[in-house]
């Protein structure tokens, strides 16, 4: 039974993926779990793995192709089964696809369990959809006569299953393995075993007689499509990467339908700066950033204000009992928001260590979907770029995001005196459907209290 290799949803928000690179060739034997290809999703370059054992019979998608989730990319099957119908069905559908070809898929759809309602619970493991294969039909072979050696029975079974398919050829498992290792096309080999079974020695003689064919095959390998096309030197057309498309679509979605308002406050960062300095004196192991302190302050404030720790779900609001704070990380071709789970329960040191590790992984594009999904609130910091204040765009379905500016020395009036203090400006973007003005303001007050008195974060 051949198995379809389809573009899988490799991240929770992925709707299409770009096949970056095939790692297996047609004719290669693969095992369940083997990596077949690299696929660029909207978030990262992920591995597409085999869902069945067999041989890569046909690669349908080319490197560089973008395809919607569910598109047939390749077919895994046994060396000799007929996959013409599967491959034909993958071709751009003619106006009226033959009903017969559609029927099995439709039946499988009907039998498939209903998809989970857009569940994005933080704990839900991000499983790619299971390959749908029709339930195997039990074939009851005739009972072998007792005392038989097996050969006769096997050949008669094979003969009966191949009835009506004149091109079916048989081969031993070893022959199939050797053929794939040595790049021999089984259909080009004549079998010398019983019933025309291709066996080891047939492959060995084929290898001797066909070195030229192998060389030709490698020369015909597809050339790489250039990523950049320039015309007259005037401009460059840069194809949108998946992550760029996702940013565009999601941020447009956000600024459009989300009734956002902004709350700005200025925090005194003096004590936080003192704490950082004191910790730094204890050694590099204790180094924390302002951002780590902000994350901890935000997380603790969220646990005090569950009305802010929520998602807008269209027909309802989902309030979370746990606090998972995402932090925006800039990467060369976009940004990504890895998550510090249960940040309210973690010490600043642990948050600092996780943040560092996640940022590094993000830059290397090695984050797994579990690491960037499921956040309940986000923090974005542009202080390191010399930005003292900005507004961040909400990452739906979250209801808020806190934009952090840089810490700088400023004159402030305290008790009628102008004094110099370390100050940091923050702006919270709120989805008014979830967070009303007073609610957001109280939350921000709590964040301020925690940040300005960082001892509260450690008791």
């Amino acid at each position: 039974m051949a198995t379809k290799v389809v573009m899988e949803a490799l991240s929770p928000t992925m709707e299409e993926g770009r096949l970056v690179k095939w790692l297996k060739n047609e004719g290669d034997a693969v095992k369940t779990g083997d990596v077949l290809a690299e696929v660029e999703t909207d978030k990262a370059v992920m591995e597409l793995v085999a869902r069945a054992d067999g041989i890569i019979r046909k690669r349908i998608a080319n490197e560089g192709d973008s395809s919607p989730v569910g598109t047939l990319l390749a077919v895994i099957g046994t060396a000799d089964e007929n996959i013409d119908a599967l491959v034909a069905a993958a071709k751009p559908a003619p106006a009226a696809a033959p009903a017969a070809a559609l029927a099995p898929d439709a039946a499988a759809q009907a039998n498939a369990p209903a998809p989970e309602p857009a569940s994005q619970g933080a704990e839900a493991p991000q499983q790619p959809p299971a390959q749908r294969t029709p339930a195997p039909t039990m074939v009851q072979p005739p009972l072998p006569p007792s005392g038989s050696s097996g050969f006769g029975v096997v050949s008669s079974l094979a003969a009966s299953t191949s009835a009506g398919d004149g091109k079916r050829s048989r081969s031993s498992p070893l022959a199939r393995r050797l053929a794939s290792e040595r790049g021999i096309e089984l259909s080009q080999v004549r079998g010398s075993g019983p019933g025309g079974r291709i066996v080891k020695k047939d492959i060995e003689s084929a290898v001797k007689s066909a070195p030229a064919a192998a060389a030709k095959a490698s020369a015909a390998a597809p050339k790489k499509t250039p990523r950049f096309i320039t015309r007259d030197g005037d401009f460059q057309d840069v194809p949108n990467t998946q992550i760029r498309k996702t940013i565009a679509r999601r941020l447009a979605e956000s600024i459009g339908p989300i009734p956002t308002y902004y709350l700005t406050a200025e925090f005194d960062a003096g004590r936080a700066a003192d704490m950082r300095a004191q910790l730094k004196e204890l050694g590099d192991d204790y180094k924390v950033s302002f951002n780590d302190i902000v994350i901890k302050a935000v997380a603790m404030a969220l646990s005090e204000h569950p009305e802010v720790n929520a998602w807008w779900m269209g027909d309802h609001i989902r309030y979370f009992n746990r606090v998972h704070v995402a932090m925006a990380v800039a990467i060369p071709d976009g940004l990504i928001t890895p998550v510090i789970f249960d940040a309210d329960k973690k010490g600043i040191g642990q948050i600092a260590a996780e943040a560092k590790d996640l940022a590094e992984k993000a830059r290397q594009r090695k984050l797994t979907p579990e690491q960037y999904s499921g956040s309940t609130f986000s923090v974005s910091n542009l202080g390191m770029f010399g930005i003292d204040q900005f507004t961040a765009i909400i990452n739906p379905p979250e209801a808020g995001i806190l934009a952090i500016g840089g810490v700088e020395a400023k004159p402030v009036v305290i008790d009628g005196e102008i004094v110099v203090r370390q100050r940091m400006r923050v702006t919270m973007s709120c989805d008014h459907r979830v967070i009303d003005g007073a609610t957001g303001s109280k939350f921000l007050q709590t964040v301020k209290r925690f940040f300005e008195n960082p001892l509260l974060l450690v008791i």
Partner: protein, 326 residues
């Protein structure tokens, strides 16, 4: 090394272990005064006396049970069955008591005992006395099952069996007692659960045990004249089975024939083939073929008995089949 019979090798093992450990004793029908139905215990009564070489009435279930009880209180009994065909009467003690005692007593009672005796067919002993029981016994968790083929293995494995703290079923070959082989004198112990490559060749694997190892060796000699070299994997122990040795050989030869004395259905060969198809699937160039006794009670008539038994000619035909030779 001395060239001695399989029978004498077993006697050596018994004598050495009776001497080494005074908790060891031998019990069974005619083991003492008559020196054993197959003379395996020859001279032991004189040497060790009637407390340690014990004759019993014809009561297999009874003396097997006495063995189990004495093992529970710390002795190391060796229970001899005149043949394993008679041991059917004692299987309740072997299967339900000995094999399960450690488990069901929550680890309180180990069973350091050996059940031994001749197994398989001889010549014209007919249906009830020509049976190979290893697949029955190897089916049982809690038992170790040993089938030595050569005098050296018989000695070394019997010593290991007597020293083992678990119940061990030791299946000797009735037709093997008079075969000769070189056997190291004195301390010679063969570990339980280790197969032995009795012949090395790259073209085909023969997996065999017990008496069938000798058939495999005949096959190897005959095929050598046709420039076909076979690996002979002598399992030696059926349970635990040395699957690594099987895999190593099959990965080299890409084909296998499994030879056994017993019947096909649920036989030892079925277990071996199951292992090969699971672990060596991509190494196989041909289906594995089994050679075994015909699926019928053993006929008494000489010509029919010969037709029913697995032999070298049948094994050679099987090897040629898996090698796609004619």
């Amino acid at each position: 090394m001395a060239l001695i019979t399989y029978r004498d090798a077993l006697t050596q093992a018994l004598r050495e272990e009776l001497t080494r450990d005074e908790s060891v004793f031998l019990m069974g029908e005619e083991v003492a005064q008559y020196n054993g139905a197959y003379k395996v215990s020859k001279g032991l009564l004189d040497e060790f006396g009637p407390m340690r070489i014990v004759d019993t009435p014809i009561t297999e279930l009874g003396f097997a049970g006495i063995g189990v009880g004495s093992a529970m209180v710390g002795l190391r009994p060796i229970i001899e069955f005149m043949t394993w065909n008679f041991a059917l009467l004692a299987l309740d003690q072997v299967v339900n008591a000995a094999a399960k005692m450690l488990y069901m007593s929550g680890g309180q009672f180990s069973m350091p005992m050996v059940f031994r005796g001749p197994n398989g067919s001889a010549l014209q002993l007919s249906a009830q006395h020509s049976q190979a029981w290893e697949s029955w016994l190897a089916h049982i968790p809690g038992l170790k099952v040993i089938t030595p083929a050569t005098p050296a293995d018989a000695k070394g494995l019997l010593k290991s069996a007597i020293r083992d703290d678990n119940p061990v079923v030791f299946l000797e070959g009735e037709m093997l007692y008079n075969t000769k082989g070189e056997v190291p004198e004195g301390e010679h112990v063969v570990p339980i659960g280790k197969a032995d490559l009795k012949r090395e060749g790259g073209d085909c694997t023969i997996v065999a045990h017990g008496k069938m190892v000798l058939v495999a060796l005949q096959v190897a000699d005959a095929l050598a004249k046709e420039n076909i070299a076979v690996d002979i994997v002598d399992l030696r122990t059926i349970r635990p089975m040395d699957v690594e040795a099987i895999a190593t050989s099959v990965q080299k030869t890409n084909r296998a024939v499994v030879l056994e004395e017993g019947w096909e259905m649920c036989g030892v060969g079925a277990q071996v083939v199951d292992f090969i198809q699971r672990e060596c699937f991509d190494d196989l160039d041909a289906p594995v073929v089994r050679v075994h006794q015909a699926d019928t009670p053993m006929p008494y008539a000489k010509n029919l008995e010969k037709a029913a038994k697995p032999d070298a000619a049948k094994a050679i035909a099987a090897i040629k089949k898996v090698m796609y030779l004619g």
